[in-house]
Symmetry: C2
Subunit: 104 residues, 2 copies
């Protein structure tokens, strides 16, 4: 994915607990929801067979990210994440200064 810097990248790394416990449906719903945020640019998400995952969300500016962080349904999902779905997670909120893409 390629956008014009500067923009915000939110790196979310996590380890899932065992079992779905409603995670898949909520995850789909969060993707629908974040796509409605003005200034949301896109996201990329990968999870390995060992339960480790990295999701990167791209936002136009601080205001767009703030809108997403304060979304009530998102806040409920974050709470459920700590209760049920994650063993651990890290969040790195960063400003992208340069970006490149290459394609065969």
């Amino acid at each position: 994915m390629k956008f014009e810097p500067p923009y915000i990248a939110v790196v979310f790394t996590s380890t899932r607990t065992l079992g779905d416990e409603g995670y898949g449906d909520m995850s789909d719903h969060m993707v629908d929801l974040v796509n409605q945020v003005d200034g949301f640019l896109g996201m990329e998400s990968v999870r390995g067979a060992d339960g480790r995952g990295i999701t990167v969300g791209y936002f136009r500016d601080d205001e767009a990210l703030k809108t997403w962080r304060e979304n009530l349904e998102h806040r409920e999902a974050m709470q459920l994440g700590r209760e049920k779905w994650y063993d651990e997670y890290s969040l790195h909120i960063s400003r992208v200064e340069r970006s490149y893409t290459w394609k065969r």
Copy 2:
């Protein structure tokens, strides 16, 4: 992974070609090599069954990242990546302003 901001996060997303073609060995070697760079803080890497991967490398500052980008063996590996190992990749070079971790 948690470090004290500000630091640099390099988000590398890629799609692998089919077959190993020496990728695994080179990947291991690059991990050894980047760990020798002064100012390299750590990395996280996940690849899904569909060949999509996200690797995030963390560096103390621009100088540490420059040292890694200019490493000759790394440059050769990047060249081989375009010749053999990747169908596409993106690189987002960003400065981390805030970070959080949570653990059960």
